[in-house]
Subunit: 371 residues, 2 copies
DNA sequence: AGTATAACCCAAAACGTTTTGGACGTCAAG
DNA sequence: CTTGACGTCCAAAACGTTTTGGGTTATACT
């Protein structure tokens, strides 16, 4: 039987109002009374009922996050890290985080609708935006607060943070070209994913800038999993004229490509170059270490969460449209001649100094009450 | 401005009570009235307010899950898959899932306390149990419903599901011994983790059964990350008398060991055997594919969630103590001579039919008679 | 003495729902 | 004509909190 304001009120002989106001730190309560109430509340182990508060405040102090999966499962380290970033930022502001995992489709949209219409959350985080993204269209139509990781082609305005994947892949591709590669395979993700088409553009940009004609047989579409990268990698490498380098549009697939190459007896970094995108922790420890394009995933999680909080608290994020520039990370998988075992391999300890991260005023100010 | 029962009541000219009861399907509402109300509610886009419902029902229809991390981040695919299992099962029952990520310690316990005392959730899932686990002690003391993944040494009874890690590692170790290995390195996790000490026992069991004396210099403790496995692997392999095989108590560290071995110019599967535990999706696609002990992570997530739901709905899970027997999965990393590229590599499609699920003798048998 | 001011306190309403315990009318049976 | 049963409906309470708009008392000032 949890303790309520009423219980305290009865015990101390004051009204519920007074107890509530004493606990909340209002100054229209005598100091002696407040002390008594504080002490009694402490003794009785009072903790306010979150649900009642929410009903009264017409706020849930909860944000929602639907993790996109392929099939029922997910084990993409990318989302793990994103989730950690979001979760820790939410915790800093004493917000709850409601999480679902759904494969794109009807059920996914239904999950959004449930959160919105039944007012389970105050705002939503939308990740992995898609062409004509129905989630975004829905939220815009409802006027429901959200922040997206990724842009859209809906032609509507909404707050987002994105990474310039086009630029990132362009740099990566140019790096490979500068190493002498001309036949560069590219493993994309389904093109209804915004980031997939952005990154593919970057690949095309680089080829064009260097006068290399696009060979469509070198471009295949994967499902973003390692398994899928493995299959796509084998398919590319078993062609009559195989590519000398392969770019996968995420690290997980790139790891699959490494695996595929090795299963064919190729030496990655010597016989074939492989590169990815994301810089998940596994990338640095792959054998050989994976050349990739780093996006600061954990920080991205924090920042989109921050933006959503600003949107919720102040009506709009300080900066509603943020594009981060990713950074090329050259490692051995594309045959670079960097010294091995260098200290920069220590990805876990790296921060992103080039990243400008604005701090937000101040998260939770404890007034000293029970609240 | 969301639609409430009151809005509908005003529109149709009936009371709030009648609207509520019509919507809820009670039979004390005239059929014609019900139709009108149903139609109007539909038109107006009525959806019940979850918070109000919860307050009234004194239930949150939400379960909580605190993901343990090391440091602020986490990217252990193990938890991703577990989360997916939990999340999908929760969704099936229309339950919300409240997620936090916390490193073990004070803040972690505070997260539990917050969920419990402020009644944010109806029940909790506790994973990666520890010696004298303070979370479990706390929940038991409060009498708060929870289900654990992993046993405890608190000497108290509570519902849990666990995998027999001792048996799993024992089989794994015996497999290596049968291949002729005598100097087998072992990378454990911190021993306050219950699963870590269980698995270590399995290792010792196997050595003892085969008359191999335990060499303590071959046992090191890692932090469960790939980075940590890499470091521990190097440390072991750079000894004067290096082990000929290394077992890591989870796959992520085993991947690090593979990386370490290769960085020293060793060929994994030929010069040194490496094995892990978990069978995360990456294990099958490592190069060489990783010998490991499979636990059906996704299913475990579903099941502990199921157990919690039973506990919440019926007072106790059907089977409050479940121990799953894991299965040895032999792949090339320990030098097996299995044909390569076999179809069984397709881990994503596999189910676990061979899983025998023993329940532990049940002291109290509910006869389910008349009361 | 009367009145303004400050200090302290509280009843009631509100958030949106579900449930309790009836009320009212009609109709059939006695 | 009375009684009981049935079919419909609803006022009010309850969940636990916060806020509004006061009220009461003592003190200080004219």
């Amino acid at each position: 039987m949890p303790v309520t304001l009423k219980d305290i009120a009865e015990r101390v002989g004051y009204s519920i109002t007074t107890v509530s106001r004493a606990l909340a730190g209002y100054d229209d309560v005598a100091e002696s009374t407040r002390q008594l109430i504080l002490k009694t509340a402490e003794e009785m182990g009072y903790r306010p009922n979150a649900t009642a508060r929410r009903l009264r405040a017409r706020r849930t102090d909860t944000i929602g996050f639907v993790i996109p999966t392929h099939g029922p499962r997910f084990s993409d380290p990318f989302f793990s890290e994103l989730l950690a970033g979001i979760g820790n930022e939410a915790a800093r502001w004493e917000l709850d985080l409601l999480v679902s995992t759904r494969a794109p489709g009807e059920e996914e949209l239904a999950a959004y609708q449930r959160m919105v219409t039944e007012r389970r959350v105050d705002g939503l985080l939308v990740v992995r935006t898609r062409r004509q993204d129905p989630r975004i269209a829905y939220l815009l139509e409802k006027g429901f607060p959200f922040v997206a990781f990724g842009r859209s082609d809906l032609g509507a305005d909404f707050p987002y943070l994105d990474v310039d994947g086009r630029q990132g892949v362009r740099e990566l591709t140019e790096h490979l070209i500068s190493l002498g590669h001309r036949r560069i395979g590219y493993i994309s993700a389904p093109l209804d994913l915004m980031f997939a088409s952005h990154r593919l553009e970057g690949y095309k940009d680089a080829l064009e800038a260097h006068g290399i004609p696009l060979d469509e047989r070198l471009v295949v579409i994967g499902r973003l999993t390692e398994q899928s990268g493995y299959e796509a990698g084998r398919a590319l490498l078993e062609r009559e004229e195989p590519p000398t380098a392969i770019i996968a549009c995420n690290d997980l697939m790139a790891l699959g490509v490494i695996s595929a190459a090795q299963s064919l007896g190729l030496q990655v970094g010597r016989n074939v170059a492989v590169a990815g995108f994301d810089d998940i922790p596994l990338a640095a420890h792959a054998q050989p270490p994976l050349t990739t394009v780093r996006q600061p995933i954990y920080e991205i999680g924090r920042r989109i969460c921050q933006m959503l909080i600003q949107l919720l608290r102040e009506g709009s994020p300080e900066e509603p449209h943020v594009i981060l520039r990713p950074r090329l990370v050259v490692r051995e998988s594309c045959g670079s001649t960097r010294p091995k075992g260098g200290e920069t391999d220590d990805a876990e300890l790296q921060t992103y100094p080039q990243q400008t991260i604005r701090s937000i005023p101040n998260p939770v100010v404890d007034k000293g009450g029970v609240r």
